[in-house]
Protein backbone atom coordinates (compact mmCIF):
# COMPACT_ATOMS: atom_id res chain seq x y z
CA UNK A 1 0.00 0.00 0.00
CA UNK A 2 2.15 2.83 -1.24
CA UNK A 3 5.12 1.49 0.61
CA UNK A 4 8.54 0.67 -0.67
CA UNK A 5 10.62 -2.13 0.76
CA UNK A 6 12.00 -1.26 4.13
CA UNK A 7 15.49 -2.32 3.07
CA UNK A 8 16.81 1.08 2.19
CA UNK A 9 16.29 2.30 5.70
CA UNK A 10 18.55 0.03 7.66
CA UNK A 11 21.94 1.55 8.11
CA UNK A 12 21.83 3.62 4.94
CA UNK A 13 19.72 6.60 5.74
CA UNK A 14 22.04 9.22 7.10
CA UNK A 15 19.34 11.34 8.56
CA UNK A 16 15.81 10.96 9.71
CA UNK A 17 14.16 11.98 6.46
CA UNK A 18 16.64 11.02 3.82
CA UNK A 19 14.50 8.29 2.27
CA UNK A 20 11.74 10.82 1.92
CA UNK A 21 14.02 13.33 0.31
CA UNK A 22 14.97 10.83 -2.38
CA UNK A 23 11.30 10.28 -3.06
CA UNK A 24 10.56 14.00 -3.06
CA UNK A 25 12.81 14.66 -6.04
CA UNK A 26 10.95 12.20 -8.18
CA UNK A 27 7.66 13.55 -6.90
CA UNK A 28 8.41 17.20 -7.59
CA UNK A 29 7.31 16.63 -11.15
CA UNK A 30 3.89 15.73 -9.74
CA UNK A 31 3.90 18.95 -7.73
CA UNK A 32 3.86 17.19 -4.39
CA UNK A 33 4.46 19.80 -1.76
CA UNK A 34 7.57 19.69 0.40
CA UNK A 35 7.41 18.23 3.87
CA UNK A 36 7.78 20.60 6.85
CA UNK A 37 8.54 19.80 10.47
CA UNK A 38 6.46 21.86 12.90
CA UNK A 39 7.72 23.21 16.22
CA UNK A 40 5.44 24.98 18.70
CA UNK A 41 6.25 27.24 21.64
CA UNK A 42 3.43 26.55 24.07
CA UNK A 43 4.06 29.65 26.21
CA UNK A 44 6.54 32.45 26.83
CA UNK A 45 9.59 31.09 28.59
CA UNK A 46 9.48 27.60 27.03
CA UNK A 47 11.38 26.44 23.98
CA UNK A 48 9.76 25.36 20.73
CA UNK A 49 9.02 21.67 20.69
CA UNK A 50 8.55 19.31 17.74
CA UNK A 51 4.88 18.38 17.32
CA UNK A 52 4.69 16.73 13.90
CA UNK A 53 4.91 17.46 10.22
CA UNK A 54 2.79 18.57 7.30
CA UNK A 55 3.01 19.37 3.61
CA UNK A 56 2.73 22.87 2.18
CA UNK A 57 3.94 24.65 -0.96
CA UNK A 58 5.95 27.30 0.90
CA UNK A 59 6.96 28.44 4.38
CA UNK A 60 4.17 30.98 4.72
CA UNK A 61 1.47 28.44 3.96
CA UNK A 62 3.24 25.87 6.14
CA UNK A 63 2.87 28.27 9.09
CA UNK A 64 -0.79 28.88 8.29
CA UNK A 65 -1.50 25.15 7.96
CA UNK A 66 0.42 24.44 11.16
CA UNK A 67 -1.85 26.92 12.93
CA UNK A 68 -4.91 24.95 11.80
CA UNK A 69 -3.48 21.47 12.29
CA UNK A 70 -1.51 21.82 15.52
CA UNK A 71 -2.94 24.76 17.51
CA UNK A 72 -6.73 24.40 17.38
CA UNK A 73 -6.88 24.37 21.19
CA UNK A 74 -4.50 27.19 22.11
CA UNK A 75 -1.50 24.85 22.21
CA UNK A 76 0.88 27.55 21.08
CA UNK A 77 1.90 31.18 20.87
CA UNK A 78 4.64 30.76 18.29
CA UNK A 79 5.30 28.39 15.38
CA UNK A 80 8.50 27.37 13.63
CA UNK A 81 8.42 25.38 10.42
CA UNK A 82 11.56 23.83 8.96
CA UNK A 83 11.68 22.03 5.65
CA UNK A 84 12.31 18.42 6.57
CA UNK A 85 15.22 17.97 4.20
CA UNK A 86 17.08 20.69 6.10
CA UNK A 87 17.12 18.55 9.22
CA UNK A 88 20.28 16.57 9.79
CA UNK A 89 20.09 13.92 12.44
CA UNK A 90 22.38 11.44 14.14
CA UNK A 91 21.79 7.86 13.11
CA UNK A 92 20.53 5.19 15.54
CA UNK A 93 23.43 2.88 14.60
CA UNK A 94 25.86 5.58 15.81
CA UNK A 95 24.04 6.03 19.10
CA UNK A 96 26.49 3.88 21.06
CA UNK A 97 29.62 5.66 19.98
CA UNK A 98 27.96 9.06 20.34
CA UNK A 99 26.34 8.69 23.73
CA UNK A 100 28.14 5.85 25.49
CA UNK A 101 31.09 8.04 26.63
CA UNK A 102 28.73 10.04 28.84
CA UNK A 103 27.44 6.95 30.64
CA UNK A 104 30.73 6.26 32.42
CA UNK A 105 31.15 9.82 33.70
CA UNK A 106 28.87 9.64 36.68
CA UNK A 107 31.06 12.21 38.48
CA UNK A 108 29.33 14.84 36.35
CA UNK A 109 26.27 14.45 38.56
CA UNK A 110 26.00 15.90 42.08
CA UNK A 111 24.76 12.59 43.48
CA UNK A 112 28.24 11.10 42.86
CA UNK A 113 29.69 12.97 45.85
CA UNK A 114 29.58 12.08 49.55
CA UNK A 115 28.42 14.91 51.74
CA UNK A 116 28.18 14.52 55.54
CA UNK A 117 24.73 14.55 57.16
CA UNK A 118 23.65 17.92 58.46
CA UNK A 119 25.15 19.91 55.60
CA UNK A 120 22.57 22.10 53.92
CA UNK A 121 22.53 24.58 51.03
CA UNK A 122 24.70 22.33 48.89
Amino acid sequence: MGARSGKCICGEAKNEKSILIKKDFSKMANNEWPLWEVFIRSKQGLSHKHVGSLRAPDAEMAVENARDVYTRRSEGISIWVVESNNIHASHPSEADSLFEPAHSKVYRHPTFYDVPDGISHM
Partner: protein, 315 residues
Protein backbone atom coordinates in the same frame (compact mmCIF):
# COMPACT_ATOMS: atom_id res chain seq x y z
CA UNK B 1 22.36 -8.60 4.30
CA UNK B 2 23.34 -11.95 5.78
CA UNK B 3 20.52 -13.98 7.22
CA UNK B 4 22.38 -14.28 10.54
CA UNK B 5 22.51 -10.49 10.75
CA UNK B 6 18.80 -10.18 10.10
CA UNK B 7 18.05 -12.73 12.81
CA UNK B 8 20.20 -10.77 15.22
CA UNK B 9 18.50 -7.50 14.26
CA UNK B 10 15.08 -9.10 14.69
CA UNK B 11 16.07 -10.48 18.07
CA UNK B 12 17.22 -7.05 19.27
CA UNK B 13 14.10 -5.43 17.81
CA UNK B 14 11.79 -7.80 19.69
CA UNK B 15 13.83 -7.33 22.85
CA UNK B 16 13.29 -3.57 22.64
CA UNK B 17 9.55 -4.11 22.19
CA UNK B 18 9.39 -6.57 25.09
CA UNK B 19 11.12 -3.96 27.26
CA UNK B 20 8.46 -1.41 26.26
CA UNK B 21 10.91 0.74 24.36
CA UNK B 22 9.45 2.72 21.48
CA UNK B 23 10.53 2.21 17.89
CA UNK B 24 11.34 5.47 16.09
CA UNK B 25 11.28 6.12 12.31
CA UNK B 26 14.95 5.56 11.60
CA UNK B 27 15.39 2.48 13.79
CA UNK B 28 15.77 -0.89 12.12
CA UNK B 29 12.46 -2.75 11.93
CA UNK B 30 11.29 -5.94 10.18
CA UNK B 31 9.61 -5.35 6.82
CA UNK B 32 6.39 -6.91 8.08
CA UNK B 33 6.27 -4.58 11.05
CA UNK B 34 6.63 -1.63 8.69
CA UNK B 35 4.00 -2.94 6.27
CA UNK B 36 1.55 -3.77 9.05
CA UNK B 37 1.89 -0.28 10.48
CA UNK B 38 1.55 1.40 7.10
CA UNK B 39 -1.60 -0.62 6.44
CA UNK B 40 -3.10 0.08 9.86
CA UNK B 41 -2.17 3.77 10.10
CA UNK B 42 -3.26 4.57 6.56
CA UNK B 43 -6.61 2.81 7.11
CA UNK B 44 -6.95 4.83 10.27
CA UNK B 45 -6.13 8.05 8.38
CA UNK B 46 -8.64 7.21 5.64
CA UNK B 47 -11.30 6.56 8.29
CA UNK B 48 -10.79 10.01 9.77
CA UNK B 49 -11.04 11.64 6.35
CA UNK B 50 -14.03 9.62 5.08
CA UNK B 51 -15.59 10.04 8.53
CA UNK B 52 -16.03 13.73 7.78
CA UNK B 53 -18.56 12.97 5.05
CA UNK B 54 -21.54 11.55 6.98
CA UNK B 55 -21.31 14.43 9.45
CA UNK B 56 -20.55 17.10 6.88
CA UNK B 57 -23.94 16.13 5.49
CA UNK B 58 -25.61 17.82 8.49
CA UNK B 59 -23.56 20.99 9.01
CA UNK B 60 -25.93 23.19 7.05
CA UNK B 61 -28.95 21.65 8.78
CA UNK B 62 -27.80 21.71 12.40
CA UNK B 63 -30.77 22.77 14.56
CA UNK B 64 -29.08 25.84 16.05
CA UNK B 65 -25.90 27.88 16.00
CA UNK B 66 -24.34 26.14 19.01
CA UNK B 67 -24.80 22.71 17.47
CA UNK B 68 -23.51 23.98 14.15
CA UNK B 69 -20.34 25.47 15.66
CA UNK B 70 -19.73 22.23 17.57
CA UNK B 71 -20.27 20.04 14.50
CA UNK B 72 -17.94 22.22 12.42
CA UNK B 73 -15.25 21.97 15.11
CA UNK B 74 -15.67 18.21 15.28
CA UNK B 75 -15.42 17.74 11.52
CA UNK B 76 -12.37 20.01 11.45
CA UNK B 77 -10.79 17.84 14.14
CA UNK B 78 -11.34 14.73 12.00
CA UNK B 79 -9.48 16.43 9.15
CA UNK B 80 -6.64 17.22 11.56
CA UNK B 81 -6.55 13.63 12.80
CA UNK B 82 -6.30 12.38 9.22
CA UNK B 83 -3.35 14.71 8.67
CA UNK B 84 -1.47 13.58 11.80
CA UNK B 85 -1.92 10.00 10.66
CA UNK B 86 -0.87 10.53 7.03
CA UNK B 87 2.27 12.19 8.42
CA UNK B 88 2.87 9.14 10.60
CA UNK B 89 2.68 6.85 7.53
CA UNK B 90 5.24 9.08 5.82
CA UNK B 91 7.74 8.49 8.63
CA UNK B 92 7.58 4.80 7.63
CA UNK B 93 8.49 5.63 4.06
CA UNK B 94 4.98 5.50 2.61
CA UNK B 95 4.28 7.98 -0.15
CA UNK B 96 1.48 10.31 0.88
CA UNK B 97 0.06 10.85 -2.59
CA UNK B 98 0.07 7.11 -3.32
CA UNK B 99 -1.54 6.38 0.03
CA UNK B 100 -4.39 8.75 -0.75
CA UNK B 101 -4.74 7.41 -4.29
CA UNK B 102 -5.09 3.90 -2.84
CA UNK B 103 -8.19 5.11 -1.01
CA UNK B 104 -9.58 6.61 -4.19
CA UNK B 105 -8.94 3.49 -6.29
CA UNK B 106 -10.67 1.31 -3.71
CA UNK B 107 -7.46 -0.58 -2.94
CA UNK B 108 -7.30 0.73 0.64
CA UNK B 109 -9.94 0.16 3.28
CA UNK B 110 -11.42 2.48 5.90
CA UNK B 111 -13.78 1.91 8.79
CA UNK B 112 -17.00 0.36 7.48
CA UNK B 113 -19.15 2.42 9.82
CA UNK B 114 -18.87 5.39 7.47
CA UNK B 115 -20.59 3.44 4.72
CA UNK B 116 -23.91 3.84 6.51
CA UNK B 117 -26.04 6.89 5.67
CA UNK B 118 -26.91 9.65 8.17
CA UNK B 119 -30.65 9.95 7.81
CA UNK B 120 -31.63 12.26 10.65
CA UNK B 121 -30.15 14.82 13.03
CA UNK B 122 -30.14 12.17 15.75
CA UNK B 123 -27.48 10.35 13.73
CA UNK B 124 -25.07 13.17 14.66
CA UNK B 125 -25.78 12.29 18.27
CA UNK B 126 -25.41 8.56 17.93
CA UNK B 127 -22.23 8.87 15.85
CA UNK B 128 -20.54 11.02 18.49
CA UNK B 129 -21.73 8.79 21.29
CA UNK B 130 -21.14 5.33 19.80
CA UNK B 131 -18.85 5.72 16.81
CA UNK B 132 -16.47 8.14 18.50
CA UNK B 133 -16.93 6.14 21.69
CA UNK B 134 -15.80 2.96 19.94
CA UNK B 135 -12.97 4.83 18.24
CA UNK B 136 -11.74 6.17 21.58
CA UNK B 137 -11.89 2.69 23.07
CA UNK B 138 -9.69 1.49 20.21
CA UNK B 139 -7.35 4.46 20.34
CA UNK B 140 -6.65 4.73 24.06
CA UNK B 141 -4.58 1.51 24.07
CA UNK B 142 -2.89 2.71 20.86
CA UNK B 143 -1.36 5.60 22.83
CA UNK B 144 0.97 2.86 24.17
CA UNK B 145 1.65 1.41 20.72
CA UNK B 146 5.29 0.45 20.11
CA UNK B 147 5.73 2.82 17.16
CA UNK B 148 6.55 6.30 18.49
CA UNK B 149 4.97 8.58 15.86
CA UNK B 150 1.71 6.56 15.87
CA UNK B 151 1.54 6.56 19.67
CA UNK B 152 2.14 10.32 19.80
CA UNK B 153 -0.52 10.98 17.18
CA UNK B 154 -2.95 8.87 19.22
CA UNK B 155 -2.30 10.92 22.35
CA UNK B 156 -3.34 14.08 20.50
CA UNK B 157 -6.31 12.37 18.86
CA UNK B 158 -7.63 10.94 22.13
CA UNK B 159 -7.35 14.28 23.89
CA UNK B 160 -9.34 15.96 21.14
CA UNK B 161 -11.95 13.25 20.71
CA UNK B 162 -13.19 13.21 24.25
CA UNK B 163 -15.39 16.19 23.41
CA UNK B 164 -16.69 14.41 20.33
CA UNK B 165 -18.25 11.67 22.39
CA UNK B 166 -19.69 14.04 24.98
CA UNK B 167 -21.33 16.30 22.42
CA UNK B 168 -22.92 13.24 20.80
CA UNK B 169 -24.29 11.98 24.07
CA UNK B 170 -25.59 15.46 24.83
CA UNK B 171 -27.51 15.48 21.54
CA UNK B 172 -29.02 12.06 22.35
CA UNK B 173 -29.93 13.15 25.86
CA UNK B 174 -31.60 16.32 24.60
CA UNK B 175 -33.64 14.41 22.03
CA UNK B 176 -34.54 11.69 24.53
CA UNK B 177 -35.90 14.35 26.88
CA UNK B 178 -37.78 16.09 24.06
CA UNK B 179 -41.11 15.43 22.34
CA UNK B 180 -42.17 11.82 21.64
CA UNK B 181 -41.14 12.38 18.01
CA UNK B 182 -37.68 13.53 19.08
CA UNK B 183 -37.26 10.58 21.40
CA UNK B 184 -38.36 8.20 18.63
CA UNK B 185 -35.78 9.81 16.35
CA UNK B 186 -33.03 9.15 18.91
CA UNK B 187 -34.18 5.54 19.37
CA UNK B 188 -34.26 5.00 15.60
CA UNK B 189 -30.69 6.30 15.27
CA UNK B 190 -29.55 3.98 18.05
CA UNK B 191 -31.32 1.05 16.39
CA UNK B 192 -29.51 1.66 13.12
CA UNK B 193 -26.04 2.36 14.52
CA UNK B 194 -25.78 -0.08 17.45
CA UNK B 195 -24.69 -3.17 15.52
CA UNK B 196 -22.43 -1.38 13.01
CA UNK B 197 -20.73 0.28 16.03
CA UNK B 198 -19.97 -3.11 17.58
CA UNK B 199 -18.65 -4.27 14.20
CA UNK B 200 -16.11 -1.42 14.34
CA UNK B 201 -13.88 -3.56 16.55
CA UNK B 202 -13.41 -6.02 13.71
CA UNK B 203 -13.93 -9.78 13.43
CA UNK B 204 -13.99 -12.12 16.43
CA UNK B 205 -10.56 -12.91 17.84
CA UNK B 206 -10.66 -16.43 16.40
CA UNK B 207 -11.13 -15.00 12.90
CA UNK B 208 -8.79 -12.03 13.21
CA UNK B 209 -5.72 -12.85 11.12
CA UNK B 210 -3.42 -10.06 12.29
CA UNK B 211 -4.15 -10.00 16.01
CA UNK B 212 -1.49 -12.42 17.33
CA UNK B 213 1.45 -10.84 15.51
CA UNK B 214 0.23 -7.30 16.19
CA UNK B 215 -0.05 -8.06 19.89
CA UNK B 216 3.50 -9.50 19.95
CA UNK B 217 4.72 -6.30 18.30
CA UNK B 218 2.63 -4.17 20.65
CA UNK B 219 1.00 -2.46 17.69
CA UNK B 220 -2.24 -3.70 19.16
CA UNK B 221 -2.63 -3.83 22.95
CA UNK B 222 -6.08 -5.42 23.36
CA UNK B 223 -7.98 -7.92 21.22
CA UNK B 224 -11.10 -7.08 19.21
CA UNK B 225 -13.41 -9.03 21.51
CA UNK B 226 -11.96 -7.53 24.69
CA UNK B 227 -12.58 -4.03 23.39
CA UNK B 228 -16.06 -4.92 22.12
CA UNK B 229 -17.01 -6.29 25.53
CA UNK B 230 -15.76 -3.09 27.20
CA UNK B 231 -17.82 -1.04 24.76
CA UNK B 232 -21.01 -2.95 25.54
CA UNK B 233 -20.45 -2.82 29.30
CA UNK B 234 -19.84 0.92 29.30
CA UNK B 235 -22.60 1.85 26.88
CA UNK B 236 -25.58 -0.09 28.23
CA UNK B 237 -25.92 2.00 31.43
CA UNK B 238 -25.46 5.20 29.40
CA UNK B 239 -28.43 4.22 27.22
CA UNK B 240 -30.53 3.29 30.26
CA UNK B 241 -29.81 6.62 31.91
CA UNK B 242 -31.44 8.56 29.08
CA UNK B 243 -34.25 6.06 28.59
CA UNK B 244 -33.16 4.52 25.30
CA UNK B 245 -33.24 0.80 24.55
CA UNK B 246 -30.31 -1.16 23.11
CA UNK B 247 -31.75 -3.07 20.11
CA UNK B 248 -30.59 -6.50 21.26
CA UNK B 249 -33.12 -8.97 22.74
CA UNK B 250 -30.25 -11.21 23.92
CA UNK B 251 -28.59 -8.50 25.97
CA UNK B 252 -28.33 -9.70 29.56
CA UNK B 253 -26.17 -8.97 32.60
CA UNK B 254 -23.88 -11.88 33.39
CA UNK B 255 -23.11 -11.82 37.09
CA UNK B 256 -20.31 -14.37 36.78
CA UNK B 257 -18.24 -12.49 34.22
CA UNK B 258 -19.35 -9.10 35.58
CA UNK B 259 -20.27 -8.01 32.09
CA UNK B 260 -23.11 -8.18 29.57
CA UNK B 261 -23.80 -11.10 27.28
CA UNK B 262 -24.92 -9.80 23.91
CA UNK B 263 -26.43 -11.19 20.74
CA UNK B 264 -24.67 -12.55 17.68
CA UNK B 265 -23.27 -9.96 15.28
CA UNK B 266 -24.36 -10.31 11.66
CA UNK B 267 -20.92 -11.02 10.20
CA UNK B 268 -22.33 -11.48 6.69
CA UNK B 269 -23.38 -7.84 6.77
CA UNK B 270 -19.96 -6.84 8.12
CA UNK B 271 -18.04 -8.61 5.34
CA UNK B 272 -20.44 -7.40 2.70
CA UNK B 273 -19.82 -3.77 3.72
CA UNK B 274 -16.05 -4.33 4.00
CA UNK B 275 -16.06 -5.75 0.47
CA UNK B 276 -17.67 -2.59 -0.84
CA UNK B 277 -21.38 -3.43 -0.86
CA UNK B 278 -22.54 -1.20 1.97
CA UNK B 279 -25.21 1.43 1.40
CA UNK B 280 -22.73 4.30 0.81
CA UNK B 281 -19.35 2.80 -0.18
CA UNK B 282 -19.45 4.17 -3.70
CA UNK B 283 -20.79 7.55 -2.65
CA UNK B 284 -18.03 8.03 -0.06
CA UNK B 285 -15.13 7.19 -2.35
CA UNK B 286 -16.64 9.23 -5.19
CA UNK B 287 -16.92 12.21 -2.85
CA UNK B 288 -13.23 11.92 -1.87
CA UNK B 289 -12.14 11.56 -5.47
CA UNK B 290 -14.20 14.56 -6.51
CA UNK B 291 -12.77 16.61 -3.63
CA UNK B 292 -9.26 15.88 -4.87
CA UNK B 293 -10.12 16.72 -8.48
CA UNK B 294 -11.98 19.89 -7.59
CA UNK B 295 -9.13 21.07 -5.39
CA UNK B 296 -6.56 20.63 -8.14
CA UNK B 297 -6.73 24.26 -9.26
CA UNK B 298 -6.19 25.47 -5.68
CA UNK B 299 -3.06 23.36 -5.33
CA UNK B 300 -1.85 24.56 -8.72
CA UNK B 301 -2.40 28.18 -7.72
CA UNK B 302 -0.59 27.65 -4.42
CA UNK B 303 2.37 26.16 -6.30
CA UNK B 304 2.43 29.02 -8.78
CA UNK B 305 2.30 31.54 -5.94
CA UNK B 306 5.11 29.77 -4.06
CA UNK B 307 7.26 29.70 -7.22
CA UNK B 308 6.63 33.38 -7.87
CA UNK B 309 7.55 34.36 -4.31
CA UNK B 310 10.74 32.34 -4.59
CA UNK B 311 11.70 34.13 -7.82
CA UNK B 312 10.98 37.51 -6.25
CA UNK B 313 13.21 36.69 -3.31
CA UNK B 314 16.00 35.48 -5.59
CA UNK B 315 16.04 38.64 -7.74
Amino acid sequence: MLEANINELERRFQEKIDNDQKIEPNDWMPDNYRQTLIRQISQHAHSEIVGMLPEGNWITRAPNLRRKAVLLAKVQDEAGHGLYLYSATETLGADREETIDDLHSGKAKYSSIFNYPTLSWADMGVIGWLVDGAAIMNQVPLCRCSYGPYARAMVRVCKEESFHQRQGYEIMMTLAKGTPEQKAMAQDALNRFWWPSLMMFGPNDAESTHTAQSMAWKIKRSTNDELRQQMVDITVPQAELIGLTIPDPDLKWNEEKQGYDYGEIDWDEFWSVVKGNGPCNKERVDARRKAKENGEWVREAANAYAAKQKMKKAS
